[in-house]
Amino acid sequence: MSTQTLGGARRSGDAPHGGEPPRLGLQDAHRRRVRNAWLLIAPTLVLLAVVIGYPIVSAVIMSLEKDPGLDPATGFFVEGGFAGLSNYSHWLLQQCNSSGGPVPCPPGSLGSQFWPSTFTTLFFTAVTVPLETVLGFWFALIMNRAFRGRALVRTAILVPWAIPTAVTAKLWYFIFAVAGIVNSLLGRQILWTSDAWASRFAIVVIDTWKATPFMALLILAGLQLIPDEIYEAARVDGASTWKTFWTITIPLVRPALIVAILFRILDVLRIYDLPAIFGGGNATATWSILVVQQMRQGANAASALSTIVFLFIFFIAFVFVRFLGADLIGRGQKGKDAS
Protein backbone atom coordinates (compact mmCIF):
# COMPACT_ATOMS: atom_id res chain seq x y z
CA MET A 1 0.00 0.00 0.00
CA SER A 2 2.73 2.42 0.91
CA THR A 3 4.21 2.04 -2.56
CA GLN A 4 0.90 3.09 -4.08
CA THR A 5 0.70 6.23 -1.98
CA LEU A 6 4.24 7.04 -2.92
CA GLY A 7 3.52 6.55 -6.58
CA GLY A 8 0.34 8.56 -6.23
CA ALA A 9 2.07 11.38 -4.43
CA ARG A 10 4.73 11.58 -7.09
CA ARG A 11 2.19 11.96 -9.82
CA SER A 12 -0.36 14.03 -7.89
CA GLY A 13 -0.18 16.66 -10.63
CA ASP A 14 -2.17 14.57 -13.11
CA ALA A 15 -4.98 13.41 -10.83
CA PRO A 16 -8.09 13.89 -13.07
CA HIS A 17 -8.54 10.23 -14.03
CA GLY A 18 -8.50 8.70 -10.58
CA GLY A 19 -12.25 8.04 -10.27
CA GLU A 20 -13.14 4.50 -11.30
CA PRO A 21 -11.92 1.79 -8.89
CA PRO A 22 -11.01 -0.95 -11.46
CA ARG A 23 -8.92 1.45 -13.53
CA LEU A 24 -7.26 2.70 -10.38
CA GLY A 25 -5.79 -0.76 -9.68
CA LEU A 26 -4.38 -1.04 -13.18
CA GLN A 27 -2.98 2.44 -13.08
CA ASP A 28 -1.35 1.89 -9.74
CA ALA A 29 0.26 -1.27 -11.05
CA HIS A 30 1.48 0.71 -14.04
CA ARG A 31 2.82 3.49 -11.85
CA ARG A 32 4.61 1.00 -9.66
CA ARG A 33 6.24 -0.55 -12.71
CA VAL A 34 7.28 2.84 -14.01
CA ARG A 35 8.82 3.67 -10.66
CA ASN A 36 10.60 0.31 -10.52
CA ALA A 37 11.92 0.85 -14.02
CA TRP A 38 13.42 4.20 -13.06
CA LEU A 39 14.92 2.68 -9.91
CA LEU A 40 16.62 0.00 -12.00
CA ILE A 41 17.91 2.50 -14.55
CA ALA A 42 19.06 5.00 -11.94
CA PRO A 43 22.46 3.38 -11.15
CA THR A 44 23.41 3.41 -14.84
CA LEU A 45 22.35 7.02 -15.28
CA VAL A 46 24.15 8.11 -12.11
CA LEU A 47 27.33 6.30 -13.14
CA LEU A 48 27.21 7.79 -16.65
CA ALA A 49 26.60 11.23 -15.17
CA VAL A 50 29.74 10.80 -13.07
CA VAL A 51 32.05 9.36 -15.75
CA ILE A 52 30.76 11.39 -18.72
CA GLY A 53 28.58 14.22 -17.39
CA TYR A 54 31.14 15.52 -14.95
CA PRO A 55 34.10 15.58 -17.40
CA ILE A 56 32.10 17.16 -20.21
CA VAL A 57 30.69 19.91 -18.00
CA SER A 58 34.10 20.66 -16.54
CA ALA A 59 35.64 20.58 -20.03
CA VAL A 60 33.15 23.21 -21.20
CA ILE A 61 33.85 25.33 -18.11
CA MET A 62 37.61 24.96 -18.56
CA SER A 63 37.31 25.91 -22.22
CA LEU A 64 35.94 29.30 -21.14
CA GLU A 65 38.83 30.01 -18.79
CA LYS A 66 42.32 31.36 -19.36
CA ASP A 67 45.38 29.21 -18.80
CA PRO A 68 47.09 30.31 -15.61
CA GLY A 69 50.43 31.84 -16.45
CA LEU A 70 52.31 35.08 -16.91
CA ASP A 71 50.14 37.95 -18.03
CA PRO A 72 51.79 39.18 -21.23
CA ALA A 73 50.83 42.79 -20.46
CA THR A 74 52.00 43.05 -16.85
CA GLY A 75 54.44 40.17 -16.50
CA PHE A 76 52.72 38.98 -13.32
CA PHE A 77 51.57 35.43 -12.72
CA VAL A 78 47.79 35.28 -13.01
CA GLU A 79 45.41 32.51 -12.01
CA GLY A 80 43.45 32.29 -15.28
CA GLY A 81 40.00 33.76 -15.03
CA PHE A 82 37.21 34.09 -17.57
CA ALA A 83 38.43 33.93 -21.15
CA GLY A 84 35.20 34.24 -23.07
CA LEU A 85 35.46 32.40 -26.35
CA SER A 86 39.14 33.17 -26.86
CA ASN A 87 40.11 29.50 -26.53
CA TYR A 88 37.72 28.72 -29.39
CA SER A 89 38.87 31.62 -31.56
CA HIS A 90 42.41 30.42 -30.84
CA TRP A 91 41.66 27.28 -32.84
CA LEU A 92 38.94 28.32 -35.26
CA LEU A 93 40.22 31.80 -36.15
CA GLN A 94 43.90 31.01 -35.52
CA GLN A 95 44.39 33.73 -32.90
CA CYS A 96 47.35 33.12 -30.65
CA ASN A 97 48.11 35.27 -27.62
CA SER A 98 51.13 37.53 -27.50
CA SER A 99 52.09 40.60 -25.53
CA GLY A 100 50.48 42.83 -28.11
CA GLY A 101 47.13 41.03 -28.18
CA PRO A 102 46.00 38.22 -30.45
CA VAL A 103 48.17 37.46 -33.49
CA PRO A 104 47.94 34.74 -36.14
CA CYS A 105 49.37 31.49 -34.75
CA PRO A 106 53.01 31.10 -35.82
CA PRO A 107 53.80 28.13 -38.06
CA GLY A 108 54.97 25.13 -36.07
CA SER A 109 52.93 25.98 -32.98
CA LEU A 110 50.18 23.59 -31.93
CA GLY A 111 47.60 26.29 -32.59
CA SER A 112 48.56 26.48 -36.25
CA GLN A 113 47.91 22.76 -36.63
CA PHE A 114 44.16 23.00 -36.15
CA TRP A 115 43.18 23.28 -39.80
CA PRO A 116 45.77 20.74 -41.01
CA SER A 117 44.53 18.28 -38.39
CA THR A 118 40.95 19.01 -39.46
CA PHE A 119 41.94 18.20 -43.02
CA THR A 120 43.69 14.99 -41.92
CA THR A 121 40.74 13.82 -39.82
CA LEU A 122 38.17 14.57 -42.53
CA PHE A 123 40.42 13.05 -45.20
CA PHE A 124 40.65 9.77 -43.25
CA THR A 125 36.88 9.80 -42.77
CA ALA A 126 36.08 10.60 -46.39
CA VAL A 127 38.41 7.93 -47.76
CA THR A 128 38.17 5.03 -45.31
CA VAL A 129 34.41 4.97 -44.71
CA PRO A 130 33.42 4.59 -48.40
CA LEU A 131 36.19 2.01 -48.88
CA GLU A 132 35.03 0.06 -45.84
CA THR A 133 31.41 0.30 -46.95
CA VAL A 134 32.08 -1.14 -50.42
CA LEU A 135 34.43 -3.86 -49.15
CA GLY A 136 32.17 -4.60 -46.20
CA PHE A 137 29.21 -5.00 -48.53
CA TRP A 138 31.19 -7.45 -50.62
CA PHE A 139 32.24 -9.44 -47.51
CA ALA A 140 28.64 -9.48 -46.32
CA LEU A 141 27.24 -10.64 -49.68
CA ILE A 142 29.71 -13.54 -49.71
CA MET A 143 28.97 -14.51 -46.10
CA ASN A 144 25.24 -14.33 -46.82
CA ARG A 145 25.54 -17.11 -49.41
CA ALA A 146 25.02 -20.69 -48.30
CA PHE A 147 28.24 -22.60 -48.80
CA ARG A 148 30.37 -24.93 -46.75
CA GLY A 149 33.05 -22.97 -44.93
CA ARG A 150 30.88 -19.96 -44.25
CA ALA A 151 31.64 -20.20 -40.53
CA LEU A 152 35.33 -20.26 -41.42
CA VAL A 153 35.06 -16.96 -43.28
CA ARG A 154 33.12 -15.46 -40.40
CA THR A 155 35.81 -16.51 -37.92
CA ALA A 156 38.59 -15.23 -40.19
CA ILE A 157 37.07 -11.78 -40.55
CA LEU A 158 36.74 -11.49 -36.77
CA VAL A 159 40.52 -11.68 -36.41
CA PRO A 160 41.30 -8.11 -37.58
CA TRP A 161 38.41 -6.91 -35.42
CA ALA A 162 39.73 -8.69 -32.32
CA ILE A 163 43.38 -7.60 -32.58
CA PRO A 164 43.87 -4.51 -30.38
CA THR A 165 44.50 -1.37 -32.45
CA ALA A 166 47.82 -0.87 -30.65
CA VAL A 167 48.98 -4.29 -31.85
CA THR A 168 47.52 -3.64 -35.31
CA ALA A 169 49.53 -0.43 -35.58
CA LYS A 170 52.76 -2.16 -34.53
CA LEU A 171 52.10 -5.13 -36.81
CA TRP A 172 51.60 -2.92 -39.87
CA TYR A 173 54.49 -0.72 -38.79
CA PHE A 174 56.62 -3.82 -39.37
CA ILE A 175 54.88 -4.69 -42.63
CA PHE A 176 55.37 -1.11 -43.89
CA ALA A 177 58.95 -0.81 -42.57
CA VAL A 178 61.54 0.47 -45.05
CA ALA A 179 62.99 -3.04 -45.34
CA GLY A 180 59.57 -4.59 -44.75
CA ILE A 181 57.51 -6.95 -46.83
CA VAL A 182 55.51 -4.28 -48.69
CA ASN A 183 58.61 -2.54 -50.00
CA SER A 184 60.19 -5.93 -50.84
CA LEU A 185 57.15 -6.91 -52.87
CA LEU A 186 57.00 -3.52 -54.58
CA GLY A 187 60.77 -3.37 -55.06
CA ARG A 188 60.69 0.20 -53.75
CA GLN A 189 62.05 2.11 -50.76
CA ILE A 190 58.97 4.07 -49.75
CA LEU A 191 59.06 5.71 -46.31
CA TRP A 192 55.59 4.55 -45.29
CA THR A 193 55.92 5.59 -41.66
CA SER A 194 57.33 9.08 -42.17
CA ASP A 195 56.51 10.45 -45.62
CA ALA A 196 53.33 12.55 -45.45
CA TRP A 197 51.18 11.00 -48.18
CA ALA A 198 52.69 7.53 -47.91
CA SER A 199 51.87 7.37 -44.20
CA ARG A 200 48.34 8.69 -44.80
CA PHE A 201 47.86 6.05 -47.46
CA ALA A 202 49.21 3.37 -45.10
CA ILE A 203 46.80 4.44 -42.37
CA VAL A 204 43.89 4.25 -44.81
CA VAL A 205 44.92 0.69 -45.70
CA ILE A 206 45.33 -0.35 -42.06
CA ASP A 207 42.08 1.20 -40.89
CA THR A 208 40.25 -0.44 -43.78
CA TRP A 209 41.77 -3.80 -42.85
CA LYS A 210 40.82 -3.38 -39.21
CA ALA A 211 37.32 -1.94 -39.52
CA THR A 212 35.84 -3.59 -42.63
CA PRO A 213 34.89 -6.74 -40.65
CA PHE A 214 32.70 -4.75 -38.27
CA MET A 215 31.01 -3.04 -41.22
CA ALA A 216 30.56 -6.40 -42.96
CA LEU A 217 28.93 -8.00 -39.92
CA LEU A 218 26.46 -5.15 -39.48
CA ILE A 219 25.55 -5.27 -43.18
CA LEU A 220 25.31 -9.08 -43.03
CA ALA A 221 22.84 -8.82 -40.16
CA GLY A 222 20.76 -6.50 -42.34
CA LEU A 223 20.97 -8.86 -45.33
CA GLN A 224 19.77 -11.78 -43.24
CA LEU A 225 16.55 -9.96 -42.49
CA ILE A 226 15.56 -9.94 -46.18
CA PRO A 227 13.20 -12.87 -46.77
CA ASP A 228 14.25 -15.35 -49.48
CA GLU A 229 10.77 -15.16 -51.03
CA ILE A 230 11.45 -11.64 -52.28
CA TYR A 231 14.52 -12.82 -54.22
CA GLU A 232 12.51 -15.83 -55.41
CA ALA A 233 9.79 -13.55 -56.75
CA ALA A 234 12.34 -11.30 -58.47
CA ARG A 235 13.88 -14.32 -60.16
CA VAL A 236 10.50 -15.57 -61.35
CA ASP A 237 9.87 -12.11 -62.80
CA GLY A 238 13.16 -12.41 -64.68
CA ALA A 239 15.02 -9.59 -62.92
CA SER A 240 18.77 -9.58 -63.51
CA THR A 241 21.19 -10.02 -60.62
CA TRP A 242 22.26 -6.39 -61.01
CA LYS A 243 18.70 -5.12 -60.97
CA THR A 244 17.81 -7.30 -57.99
CA PHE A 245 20.78 -5.85 -56.12
CA TRP A 246 19.81 -2.22 -56.74
CA THR A 247 16.05 -2.50 -56.37
CA ILE A 248 15.77 -5.09 -53.60
CA THR A 249 18.99 -5.59 -51.66
CA ILE A 250 20.07 -1.96 -51.34
CA PRO A 251 16.72 -0.46 -50.28
CA LEU A 252 16.01 -3.27 -47.81
CA VAL A 253 19.45 -3.25 -46.26
CA ARG A 254 19.52 0.56 -46.10
CA PRO A 255 18.59 0.91 -42.38
CA ALA A 256 21.41 -1.43 -41.29
CA LEU A 257 23.78 0.22 -43.77
CA ILE A 258 23.12 3.72 -42.49
CA VAL A 259 23.70 2.69 -38.88
CA ALA A 260 26.94 0.93 -39.86
CA ILE A 261 28.16 3.98 -41.80
CA LEU A 262 27.29 6.30 -38.92
CA PHE A 263 29.17 4.11 -36.42
CA ARG A 264 32.23 4.09 -38.65
CA ILE A 265 32.15 7.84 -39.35
CA LEU A 266 32.02 8.58 -35.62
CA ASP A 267 34.87 6.13 -35.00
CA VAL A 268 37.15 7.68 -37.62
CA LEU A 269 36.40 11.23 -36.47
CA ARG A 270 37.84 10.35 -33.06
CA ILE A 271 40.66 8.13 -34.36
CA TYR A 272 43.74 8.23 -32.14
CA ASP A 273 45.49 4.89 -31.52
CA LEU A 274 46.44 4.04 -35.08
CA PRO A 275 48.06 7.29 -36.26
CA ALA A 276 49.55 7.93 -32.80
CA ILE A 277 51.36 4.59 -32.72
CA PHE A 278 51.98 4.02 -36.44
CA GLY A 279 53.57 7.39 -37.01
CA GLY A 280 53.60 9.93 -39.80
CA GLY A 281 54.10 13.00 -37.61
CA ASN A 282 52.07 16.08 -38.43
CA ALA A 283 50.76 14.55 -41.65
CA THR A 284 48.70 12.01 -39.71
CA ALA A 285 47.95 14.14 -36.63
CA THR A 286 44.19 13.96 -36.18
CA TRP A 287 42.00 16.03 -33.84
CA SER A 288 42.43 13.53 -31.01
CA ILE A 289 46.20 13.59 -31.34
CA LEU A 290 46.20 17.39 -31.30
CA VAL A 291 44.10 17.41 -28.10
CA VAL A 292 46.52 15.04 -26.37
CA GLN A 293 49.52 17.15 -27.46
CA GLN A 294 47.80 20.33 -26.31
CA MET A 295 46.68 18.84 -22.98
CA ARG A 296 50.05 19.23 -21.30
CA GLN A 297 50.69 22.68 -22.78
CA GLY A 298 47.41 24.28 -21.83
CA ALA A 299 44.44 22.35 -20.52
CA ASN A 300 41.95 25.12 -21.26
CA ALA A 301 42.78 25.34 -24.95
CA ALA A 302 42.75 21.52 -25.05
CA SER A 303 39.28 21.54 -23.52
CA ALA A 304 38.06 24.00 -26.14
CA LEU A 305 39.44 21.77 -28.90
CA SER A 306 37.91 18.60 -27.45
CA THR A 307 34.60 20.42 -27.11
CA ILE A 308 34.77 21.44 -30.79
CA VAL A 309 35.41 17.79 -31.73
CA PHE A 310 32.59 16.58 -29.52
CA LEU A 311 30.11 19.13 -30.92
CA PHE A 312 31.09 18.20 -34.47
CA ILE A 313 30.60 14.50 -33.76
CA PHE A 314 27.18 15.14 -32.26
CA PHE A 315 26.26 17.32 -35.20
CA ILE A 316 27.07 14.45 -37.60
CA ALA A 317 25.14 11.97 -35.46
CA PHE A 318 22.19 14.38 -35.33
CA VAL A 319 22.19 14.79 -39.12
CA PHE A 320 22.17 11.02 -39.58
CA VAL A 321 19.37 10.41 -37.09
CA ARG A 322 17.27 13.39 -38.13
CA PHE A 323 17.67 13.49 -41.91
CA LEU A 324 18.84 10.04 -42.95
CA GLY A 325 16.63 8.19 -40.50
CA ALA A 326 19.37 6.24 -38.74
CA ASP A 327 17.37 4.14 -36.30
CA LEU A 328 19.71 3.81 -33.36
CA ILE A 329 17.31 3.02 -30.59
CA GLY A 330 14.87 1.23 -32.86
CA ARG A 331 12.51 -1.18 -31.23
CA GLY A 332 13.86 -0.25 -27.86
CA GLN A 333 10.91 2.08 -27.53
CA LYS A 334 8.41 -0.63 -28.33
CA GLY A 335 9.34 -3.14 -25.63
CA LYS A 336 6.52 -5.04 -24.06
CA ASP A 337 4.82 -3.84 -20.92
CA ALA A 338 4.07 -6.51 -18.38
CA SER A 339 0.34 -5.70 -18.34
Binding site: L45, F147, K170, S288, V291, G332
Partner: protein, 282 residues
Protein backbone atom coordinates in the same frame (compact mmCIF):
# COMPACT_ATOMS: atom_id res chain seq x y z
CA UNK B 1 18.79 -28.77 -66.58
CA UNK B 2 22.53 -29.31 -66.94
CA UNK B 3 22.89 -25.68 -67.93
CA UNK B 4 21.33 -24.61 -64.66
CA UNK B 5 23.60 -27.00 -62.75
CA UNK B 6 26.60 -25.59 -64.53
CA UNK B 7 25.59 -22.07 -63.69
CA UNK B 8 25.13 -23.00 -60.05
CA UNK B 9 28.53 -24.69 -60.01
CA UNK B 10 30.17 -21.61 -61.54
CA UNK B 11 28.51 -19.48 -58.87
CA UNK B 12 29.79 -21.76 -56.11
CA UNK B 13 33.31 -21.56 -57.51
CA UNK B 14 33.09 -17.75 -57.66
CA UNK B 15 31.85 -17.67 -54.06
CA UNK B 16 34.73 -19.85 -52.99
CA UNK B 17 37.32 -17.70 -54.74
CA UNK B 18 35.89 -14.60 -53.06
CA UNK B 19 35.83 -16.37 -49.70
CA UNK B 20 39.48 -17.38 -50.03
CA UNK B 21 40.50 -13.84 -51.05
CA UNK B 22 38.67 -12.39 -48.04
CA UNK B 23 40.20 -14.91 -45.62
CA UNK B 24 43.72 -14.35 -46.95
CA UNK B 25 43.36 -10.55 -46.73
CA UNK B 26 42.09 -10.80 -43.14
CA UNK B 27 44.51 -13.44 -41.87
CA UNK B 28 47.74 -12.69 -43.76
CA UNK B 29 48.94 -9.76 -41.61
CA UNK B 30 48.16 -11.76 -38.46
CA UNK B 31 49.96 -14.78 -39.92
CA UNK B 32 52.96 -12.59 -40.75
CA UNK B 33 53.11 -11.35 -37.16
CA UNK B 34 53.11 -14.91 -35.79
CA UNK B 35 55.70 -16.14 -38.32
CA UNK B 36 58.00 -13.20 -37.59
CA UNK B 37 57.62 -13.66 -33.85
CA UNK B 38 59.31 -17.08 -34.19
CA UNK B 39 62.06 -15.84 -36.51
CA UNK B 40 65.63 -15.23 -35.42
CA UNK B 41 66.26 -11.50 -34.99
CA UNK B 42 69.09 -11.69 -37.56
CA UNK B 43 66.51 -12.68 -40.19
CA UNK B 44 63.89 -10.07 -39.27
CA UNK B 45 63.20 -9.08 -42.87
CA UNK B 46 63.36 -12.57 -44.36
CA UNK B 47 60.52 -12.80 -46.87
CA UNK B 48 60.06 -16.58 -46.88
CA UNK B 49 56.29 -17.06 -46.47
CA UNK B 50 56.65 -19.92 -43.97
CA UNK B 51 58.55 -20.12 -40.64
CA UNK B 52 62.33 -20.14 -41.04
CA UNK B 53 65.15 -19.75 -38.48
CA UNK B 54 62.66 -20.68 -35.79
CA UNK B 55 63.49 -19.55 -32.26
CA UNK B 56 61.71 -18.70 -29.02
CA UNK B 57 64.19 -15.93 -28.17
CA UNK B 58 61.76 -13.20 -29.17
CA UNK B 59 59.26 -14.43 -26.59
CA UNK B 60 61.97 -14.42 -23.94
CA UNK B 61 62.89 -10.85 -24.94
CA UNK B 62 59.25 -9.77 -24.98
CA UNK B 63 58.60 -11.08 -21.47
CA UNK B 64 61.92 -10.01 -20.02
CA UNK B 65 62.00 -6.94 -17.79
CA UNK B 66 65.69 -6.43 -18.45
CA UNK B 67 65.23 -3.70 -21.09
CA UNK B 68 62.58 -1.73 -19.25
CA UNK B 69 59.52 -3.55 -20.59
CA UNK B 70 56.84 -4.91 -18.28
CA UNK B 71 54.75 -7.12 -20.54
CA UNK B 72 53.95 -9.69 -17.84
CA UNK B 73 52.83 -6.99 -15.43
CA UNK B 74 50.93 -5.28 -18.27
CA UNK B 75 49.04 -8.50 -19.02
CA UNK B 76 48.06 -8.71 -15.36
CA UNK B 77 47.06 -5.02 -15.38
CA UNK B 78 44.89 -5.45 -18.47
CA UNK B 79 43.26 -8.44 -16.79
CA UNK B 80 42.61 -6.50 -13.56
CA UNK B 81 41.23 -3.48 -15.44
CA UNK B 82 39.21 -5.57 -17.91
CA UNK B 83 37.62 -7.77 -15.27
CA UNK B 84 36.80 -4.80 -13.02
CA UNK B 85 35.27 -2.76 -15.81
CA UNK B 86 33.29 -5.75 -17.12
CA UNK B 87 31.95 -6.64 -13.66
CA UNK B 88 30.91 -3.08 -12.84
CA UNK B 89 29.29 -2.59 -16.25
CA UNK B 90 27.41 -5.89 -15.98
CA UNK B 91 26.22 -5.36 -12.40
CA UNK B 92 24.88 -1.90 -13.15
CA UNK B 93 23.97 -2.42 -16.79
CA UNK B 94 22.01 -5.67 -16.47
CA UNK B 95 19.33 -4.19 -14.22
CA UNK B 96 19.04 -1.14 -16.46
CA UNK B 97 18.78 -3.32 -19.57
CA UNK B 98 16.12 -5.41 -17.81
CA UNK B 99 14.03 -2.33 -17.10
CA UNK B 100 14.51 -0.92 -20.60
CA UNK B 101 13.52 -4.10 -22.38
CA UNK B 102 10.74 -5.06 -19.96
CA UNK B 103 8.80 -1.89 -19.28
CA UNK B 104 7.24 0.86 -21.32
CA UNK B 105 7.34 4.28 -19.77
CA UNK B 106 7.53 7.91 -20.71
CA UNK B 107 11.13 9.01 -21.20
CA UNK B 108 12.39 5.57 -22.21
CA UNK B 109 13.31 6.75 -25.70
CA UNK B 110 15.28 9.61 -24.18
CA UNK B 111 17.13 7.23 -21.86
CA UNK B 112 18.02 4.90 -24.76
CA UNK B 113 19.09 7.90 -26.83
CA UNK B 114 21.25 9.19 -23.99
CA UNK B 115 22.92 5.80 -23.59
CA UNK B 116 23.54 5.53 -27.36
CA UNK B 117 24.89 9.09 -27.31
CA UNK B 118 27.19 8.22 -24.43
CA UNK B 119 28.67 5.35 -26.41
CA UNK B 120 29.59 7.71 -29.26
CA UNK B 121 31.35 10.06 -26.95
CA UNK B 122 34.90 10.86 -28.09
CA UNK B 123 37.43 9.72 -25.49
CA UNK B 124 39.51 12.88 -25.87
CA UNK B 125 36.60 14.96 -24.60
CA UNK B 126 36.89 13.17 -21.25
CA UNK B 127 40.64 13.11 -21.13
CA UNK B 128 41.64 16.69 -20.28
CA UNK B 129 39.30 17.17 -17.29
CA UNK B 130 40.11 13.70 -15.94
CA UNK B 131 43.83 14.35 -16.39
CA UNK B 132 43.49 17.49 -14.28
CA UNK B 133 41.21 15.91 -11.70
CA UNK B 134 43.35 12.82 -11.20
CA UNK B 135 46.49 14.95 -10.96
CA UNK B 136 44.85 17.09 -8.28
CA UNK B 137 43.62 14.20 -6.15
CA UNK B 138 46.74 12.09 -6.69
CA UNK B 139 45.11 9.28 -8.67
CA UNK B 140 47.43 9.48 -11.67
CA UNK B 141 48.73 6.04 -12.52
CA UNK B 142 46.31 4.25 -10.21
CA UNK B 143 44.02 1.44 -11.31
CA UNK B 144 40.89 3.42 -10.53
CA UNK B 145 42.10 6.21 -12.82
CA UNK B 146 42.08 3.67 -15.65
CA UNK B 147 38.92 1.78 -14.67
CA UNK B 148 36.59 4.75 -14.16
CA UNK B 149 37.03 6.37 -17.62
CA UNK B 150 36.55 3.00 -19.34
CA UNK B 151 33.12 2.67 -17.74
CA UNK B 152 32.11 5.60 -19.94
CA UNK B 153 32.20 3.47 -23.09
CA UNK B 154 31.84 -0.08 -21.73
CA UNK B 155 28.65 0.60 -19.76
CA UNK B 156 26.67 2.05 -22.72
CA UNK B 157 27.88 -0.84 -24.89
CA UNK B 158 26.74 -3.29 -22.21
CA UNK B 159 23.31 -1.73 -21.85
CA UNK B 160 22.41 -1.47 -25.52
CA UNK B 161 23.75 -4.90 -26.41
CA UNK B 162 21.80 -6.45 -23.56
CA UNK B 163 18.63 -4.52 -24.39
CA UNK B 164 18.59 -5.83 -27.92
CA UNK B 165 19.12 -9.38 -26.63
CA UNK B 166 16.60 -9.18 -23.79
CA UNK B 167 13.93 -7.81 -26.09
CA UNK B 168 13.65 -11.33 -27.50
CA UNK B 169 13.12 -12.95 -24.08
CA UNK B 170 9.95 -14.94 -23.36
CA UNK B 171 8.63 -12.58 -20.71
CA UNK B 172 5.47 -14.65 -20.27
CA UNK B 173 7.54 -17.11 -18.27
CA UNK B 174 8.16 -14.47 -15.65
CA UNK B 175 4.44 -13.81 -15.46
CA UNK B 176 3.83 -17.55 -15.02
CA UNK B 177 6.39 -17.72 -12.22
CA UNK B 178 4.71 -14.81 -10.48
CA UNK B 179 1.35 -16.53 -10.70
CA UNK B 180 2.94 -19.66 -9.22
CA UNK B 181 3.93 -17.59 -6.21
CA UNK B 182 7.43 -16.35 -6.94
CA UNK B 183 8.31 -12.85 -5.75
CA UNK B 184 9.60 -10.54 -8.51
CA UNK B 185 13.15 -11.00 -7.21
CA UNK B 186 12.76 -14.79 -7.23
CA UNK B 187 11.30 -14.77 -10.71
CA UNK B 188 14.23 -12.66 -11.86
CA UNK B 189 16.83 -14.87 -10.22
CA UNK B 190 15.36 -18.31 -10.92
CA UNK B 191 13.67 -17.87 -14.28
CA UNK B 192 15.00 -14.84 -16.11
CA UNK B 193 18.66 -14.89 -15.14
CA UNK B 194 19.27 -18.47 -16.40
CA UNK B 195 17.45 -17.62 -19.64
CA UNK B 196 19.43 -14.41 -20.05
CA UNK B 197 22.76 -16.02 -19.13
CA UNK B 198 23.96 -16.51 -22.75
CA UNK B 199 23.17 -12.86 -23.55
CA UNK B 200 24.97 -11.67 -20.42
CA UNK B 201 27.95 -13.89 -21.19
CA UNK B 202 28.22 -12.57 -24.76
CA UNK B 203 27.97 -9.01 -23.52
CA UNK B 204 30.71 -9.74 -20.98
CA UNK B 205 33.02 -10.94 -23.77
CA UNK B 206 32.39 -7.79 -25.82
CA UNK B 207 32.86 -5.58 -22.76
CA UNK B 208 36.11 -7.29 -21.84
CA UNK B 209 37.50 -7.07 -25.39
CA UNK B 210 36.71 -3.36 -25.66
CA UNK B 211 38.44 -2.74 -22.34
CA UNK B 212 41.44 -4.89 -23.36
CA UNK B 213 41.83 -2.83 -26.56
CA UNK B 214 41.61 0.63 -24.95
CA UNK B 215 44.67 2.78 -25.57
CA UNK B 216 44.00 6.54 -25.64
CA UNK B 217 43.06 7.08 -21.99
CA UNK B 218 45.44 4.46 -20.59
CA UNK B 219 48.38 5.90 -22.50
CA UNK B 220 47.86 9.23 -20.73
CA UNK B 221 46.72 8.20 -17.25
CA UNK B 222 48.72 5.05 -16.48
CA UNK B 223 52.16 4.62 -14.92
CA UNK B 224 54.81 1.96 -15.57
CA UNK B 225 53.29 -0.12 -12.79
CA UNK B 226 49.69 0.01 -14.01
CA UNK B 227 50.02 0.29 -17.78
CA UNK B 228 47.86 -2.14 -19.76
CA UNK B 229 49.16 -4.27 -22.66
CA UNK B 230 48.23 -1.79 -25.38
CA UNK B 231 50.43 0.87 -23.80
CA UNK B 232 53.22 -1.63 -23.11
CA UNK B 233 53.22 -2.72 -26.77
CA UNK B 234 53.16 0.82 -28.14
CA UNK B 235 56.14 1.88 -26.04
CA UNK B 236 58.11 -1.35 -26.34
CA UNK B 237 61.87 -0.83 -26.21
CA UNK B 238 64.42 -3.17 -27.73
CA UNK B 239 67.68 -4.69 -26.67
CA UNK B 240 69.67 -2.16 -28.68
CA UNK B 241 69.17 1.60 -28.71
CA UNK B 242 68.01 3.17 -32.00
CA UNK B 243 67.02 -0.21 -33.41
CA UNK B 244 63.38 -1.11 -33.71
CA UNK B 245 62.88 -4.49 -31.94
CA UNK B 246 60.53 -5.79 -34.64
CA UNK B 247 60.69 -9.50 -33.82
CA UNK B 248 60.25 -8.97 -30.07
CA UNK B 249 57.31 -6.64 -30.70
CA UNK B 250 55.74 -9.26 -32.97
CA UNK B 251 56.17 -11.79 -30.15
CA UNK B 252 54.60 -9.37 -27.66
CA UNK B 253 51.78 -8.71 -30.13
CA UNK B 254 51.18 -12.42 -30.53
CA UNK B 255 51.04 -12.91 -26.75
CA UNK B 256 48.52 -10.08 -26.40
CA UNK B 257 46.37 -11.19 -29.33
CA UNK B 258 46.24 -14.95 -28.87
CA UNK B 259 43.80 -14.87 -25.90
CA UNK B 260 41.45 -12.78 -28.03
CA UNK B 261 41.78 -15.02 -31.06
CA UNK B 262 40.97 -18.03 -28.85
CA UNK B 263 37.88 -16.19 -27.57
CA UNK B 264 36.89 -15.50 -31.17
CA UNK B 265 37.38 -19.12 -32.22
CA UNK B 266 35.34 -20.43 -29.29
CA UNK B 267 32.51 -17.91 -29.38
CA UNK B 268 32.44 -16.78 -33.00
CA UNK B 269 28.68 -17.16 -33.34
CA UNK B 270 27.90 -15.37 -30.09
CA UNK B 271 30.31 -12.51 -30.76
CA UNK B 272 28.77 -11.88 -34.16
CA UNK B 273 25.30 -11.90 -32.62
CA UNK B 274 26.39 -9.48 -29.91
CA UNK B 275 28.24 -7.13 -32.25
CA UNK B 276 25.31 -6.79 -34.58
CA UNK B 277 22.64 -6.71 -31.86
CA UNK B 278 23.46 -3.11 -31.03
CA UNK B 279 23.26 -1.90 -34.60
CA UNK B 280 20.49 -3.81 -36.31
CA UNK B 281 17.03 -4.68 -35.16
CA UNK B 282 14.83 -7.46 -36.40
Amino acid sequence: MSKATNRRRARTVRTWISAVVIMVWCLLPFYWMVVTSFRDVGYTFDTTPWPTHVTLDNYATALSTHWGNHLGQALLNSLIIGVSVTLIALLVGTVAAYALSRYDFAGKGIVMGAIMGASMFPGVALLTPLFQLFTTIGWMGSYQALIIPEISFVLPLTVYTLVSFLREMPWDLEEAARIDGCTPAQAFRKILLPLAAPAIFTTAILAFISSWNEYLISSQLSSDATQPVTVAIASFTGTLPHQEPYTAVMAAGTIVTVPLVILVLLFQRRIVAGLTAGGVKG
